[in-house]
């Protein structure tokens, strides 16, 4: 907890959860109505608690102030990937970002993730994102007969691609990528992460095909290693490293 926060708490009674007031600035966009298609900022002042996340603040706005505020959410604890948004200029999951951790003394800005068409308020069209994902053949490819039991894989072989199995397809990485912002054709980090997950899986035999796909002019070579994606990933995946490993595999054909 920051010094600022402790001051705001003003000695709560034992067991009482300290509260504080915070201003949330939300980028609004309504596809219908009088001001259809124009975006603007709305400000809301709400009371929050020490354990509240940005998602709680958005719910408070929707449930107590403005029912038309629109955003996606489901699990509310960082595993379903619904609520990636731009919070104070950085891509994060609203359900994993505690208000107290992002200086609630200043207004907190919330915008939709960039590079995908905005549908309404914080909701973007995810189809282009999922289309790139589908293109890299995100499934195990094997030849020959299926074993009757499990395929054998050593703990070390399993560990090789562990990091990239954590992806929840929230698009925080892809929509933080400056290359993706200017070139919507670029596969983007998330698709490459999911290609990595299979390329380095010892059971998989489709690496050549995936590398062919990613050798395209909109493939891995567009990556400028700005590390935005790694910073944005709410699952802590070393995204840039994974992209570099795919590039190296393309040159050395070793995976």
């Amino acid at each position: 907890m920051t010094a600022v926060m402790e001051k705001a708490d003003a000695q709560p009674k034992a067991g009482e959860i300290p509260s504080f007031d915070v201003t949330i600035k939300v980028r609004r966009f309504n596809p219908e109505g009088d001001a259809a298609g124009e975006s603007h900022w709305d400000e809301f002042r709400i009371t929050a608690y020490g354990t509240d996340r940005v998602l709680d603040a958005l719910h408070k706005i929707k449930w107590e102030h403005d029912g038309s505020l629109t955003f996606r959410r489901s699990c509310a604890h960082g595993v379903c990937g619904s609520d990636a948004m731009r919070i104070n200029g950085r891509n994060r999951l609203a359900c994993k970002t505690l208000l107290k951790d992002i200086n609630p003394q200043r207004p907190i800005t919330v915008e939709p993730i960039k590079g995908l068409p905005v549908v309404k308020d914080l909701v973007v069209d995810m189809e282009p994102f999922f289309a790139s994902y589908r293109e890299i053949m995100p499934f195990l490819i094997t030849k020959g007969n299926e074993p009757t039991k499990e395929r054998i894989q050593s703990a070390e072989q399993r560990e090789r691609f562990d990091d990239t199995t954590k992806c929840i397809l929230c698009a925080a990485c892809t929509s933080s990528c400056p290359v993706f912002w200017t070139d919507g054709q670029y596969f983007g980090p998330a698709a490459i992460v999911n290609a990595h997950r299979f390329i380095f899986d010892s059971r998989d035999e489709g690496a050549q095909q995936r590398l062919e796909i990613l050798n395209d002019k909109e493939g891995v070579w567009r990556c400028r290693t700005t590390f935005n994606c790694t910073e944005a990933c709410p699952r802590g995946i070393e995204v840039t490293k994974a992209i570099q490993e795919v590039k190296r595999a393309m040159i050395t054909r070793a995976f």
Partner: protein, 610 residues
């Protein structure tokens, strides 16, 4: 209104729905309709594992797994179904591995297995390593793997489409359809969130895989989207709901938040302690202690708190202690849940115990089905062309208390079975004409909600519902508390009639859908409480302080709850005078309870001790 025609329509794209889709889309033209993008489904939040007696690390067999499942469910399990699940578990795990699921591995490279609550060697001797897992992200890996294979198989999805009605050729909600008469499911009505358009899907076979209803409670591990949609749609159309009074409270929710911390934490050696640092589970379950089934652990925790041994400033939680485990072991086996403790409570599990308290987790009850996944409309007649699998369904493999990992197993085994059944049926069946205007009821409902003048906020009513359910129908229940819940629900139903939405738009109107979902929640809360009031015994997840004993002589029966018109008969199928004969009048309809016999094959009910 836009109409579609598919051989098979699957409603829901979590584990059960996608497992069904992988089967049916090979055989029949299949569409999956999901209110979320498939990878957002709550299967992805499951953590600890999926049990199967692979015997990869120690001796095990499916018969032990069957027994544990039946005993875990306090003998209200249909034993034929439990046996099928335990047997088919083995292939279900191998299926997933061959689809690409990255399980943790043994030193020999086989699928690794670990201990989990209630899973034992030789009928209760000691905990057994039966749960196949991928760190504490097993559900995530299952959901991703199933979706990946749906992409591979080019399964057709309608994402962010909300199914709001089930169409049948006989109206069970209002007509008195005689036993044995043929009733067919013919389609569903869906709402496209992006555009606000209504879509009608005509189908030969329909599979409901819509998941649970945890949002009837305030403190829950469930996603915001788990609002009992499929259960409520079936119930409104006159189909019974089975055993809804049995709701599982998972012992280890993050205190105050309800976020799930896997039982795997205890499977890997974690210990529950009270404020005095005592390992209190030694008193409640001397043999398997912290790995007792969830109902027992949750009640023990709540009891510690009630008797003043809770931890924290308000003494309102207990502690999950992992501090004796090696940090490297925690990182390898429990990375996600330890991160939850850090992110949400600022607790470092390497060095500090984590505050935990029971959280509403899983509906054992649901839409009754047989082992082929066919939906029942009473104790024995199926609705032709209608199937259900996963948490929405009640087979019943979980009885009155589900064992940990058995839900991931259930969705795979019965998802596969219902997908196969649906496709096989669709190949032989013909389309049945839909009524003249199949979407009329849904359109009227949405228009009414949208155009209602300013009234009370949906969120306030929902919060009041969740609060009364937490206060009155949680781990401990009494006749008095349940009557309080019921009277609150009646009041909330009235308020719901006058509630309004603020967003009047057509496109991406989540305000409107939250209003629709609240209607589902009210239905599910109502039927849960009525069932709980009627069951004057304590069994598994249903604990009545005023009736603390299990009463096999009178209540070894599945509850079947029917919503009927006020004028309908007061006796439902399986009516047992004095025990399963309850009728609860509501404004404009009534809930009539009946029963269904529990299938018992190998195992005589015994006292449940661990």
């Amino acid at each position: 209104m836009i109409t579609h025609q598919y051989d098979v329509v699957i409603v829901g794209a979590g584990g059960a729905g996608m497992r069904a889709a992988l089967e049916s889309s090979k055989e029949a033209r299949t569409a999956v309709i999901s209110k979320l993008y498939p990878t957002r489904s709550h299967t992805g939040a499951a953590q600890g594992g999926m049990c199967a007696s692979l015997a990869n690390v120690e001796e095990d067999n499916w018969e032990w797994h069957t027994f544990d499942t039946i005993k875990g469910g306090d003998y209200l399990v249909d034993q034929d179904a439990a046996e099928i699940m335990a047997k088919e578990a083995i292939d279900a795990v191998f299926d997933l591995e061959r689809m690409g699921l990255p399980f943790n591995r043994t030193p020999e490279g086989k699928i690794d297995q670990r201990r989990f609550g209630g899973h034992t060697r030789n009928h209760g001797e000691a905990a057994v390593r039966r749960a196949c897992y991928a760190a504490d992200r097993t559900g995530h890996m299952i959901l991703q793997t199933l979706y990946q294979n749906c992409v591979k198989q080019d399964v057709e999805f309608f994402n962010e489409f909300y199914v709001l009605d089930l169409i049948t050729d006989r109206d069970l909600a209002t007509e008195d359809v005689e036993e044995g008469a043929e009733v067919n499911a013919t389609g569903v009505v869906a709402y496209d969130l992006a555009t606000g358009e209504i879509h009608v899907f005509q189908a030969k076979a329909i599979v409901f895989a819509t998941g649970g209803a945890g949002k009837i409670f305030k403190t829950t591990s469930n996603a915001h989207t788990l609002t009992g949609d499929g259960m409520a749609l079936a119930y409104r159309r006159g189909l019974p709901l089975e055993d809804m009074e049995f709701f599982q409270f998972h012992p280890t929710g993050l205190a105050g938040l309800g976020i799930l911390l896997s039982e795997a934490a205890r499977g890997e050696g974690g210990i529950l302690r009270n404020a005095d640092g005592e390992r209190f589970m030694e008193r409640y379950a001397p043999t398997i202690k912290d790995l007792a089934p969830r109902d027992i652990v949750a009640r023990s925790m709540a009891n510690e708190v009630r008797e003043g041994r809770g931890a924290g400033p308000n003494k309102d939680y207990v502690l999950l202690d992992l501090t004796h485990l090696e940090p490297a072991h925690i990182d390898a086996k429990l990375p996600d849940i330890t991160e939850f403790a850090r992110t949400y409570l600022g607790i470092e599990p390497y060095t500090e115990p984590v505050p935990v308290y029971p959280t509403a987790h899983y509906a054992m009850g649901g839409v009754p089905t047989n082992v082929a996944g066919e939906v029942l409309r009473n104790g024995h007649d199926v609705v032709k062309g209608l199937y259900a699998a996963g948490e929405v369904a009640c087979v019943s493999v979980h009885g009155s208390n589900r064992l940990g990992t058995n839900s991931l197993l259930d969705i795979n085994v019965f998802g596969k079975r219902s997908g196969r059944s649906a496709a096989a049926y669709a190949k032989t069946a013909s389309f049945i004409d839909l009524p003249e205007n199949p979407a009329a009821a849904v359109e009227a409902q949405l228009t009414e909600l949208r155009e209602r003048p300013d009234g009370e906020r949906i969120a306030d009513i929902r919060r009041a519902l969740q609060e009364t359910m937490d206060a009155n129908a949680q781990v401990f229940r009494t006749g008095e508390s349940l009557n309080q819940a019921l009277s609150d629900i009646r009041e909330l139903r009235k308020r719901y009639q006058n509630a309004s939405v603020q967003d009047k738009g057509k496109m991406f109107n989540t305000d409107l859908l939250e209003a629709v979902e609240l209607g589902f929640l009210l239905d599910i809360a109502e039927v849960t409480v009525v069932g709980a009031l009627n069951r004057k015994e304590s069994r598994g997840g249903h604990y009545r302080e005023d009736y603390p004993q299990r009463d096999d002589a009178h209540y070894m029966q599945h509850t079947m709850a029917y919503r009927r018109p006020t004028a309908a008969a007061d006796e439902a199928d399986g009516h047992i005078a004095g025990y399963f004969d309850h009728v609860e009048e509501f404004d404009g309809y009534k809930v009539v309870l009946g029963s269904k016999t529990v299938t018992q094959t190998r195992y005589e009910p015994m006292e449940r001790k661990y």
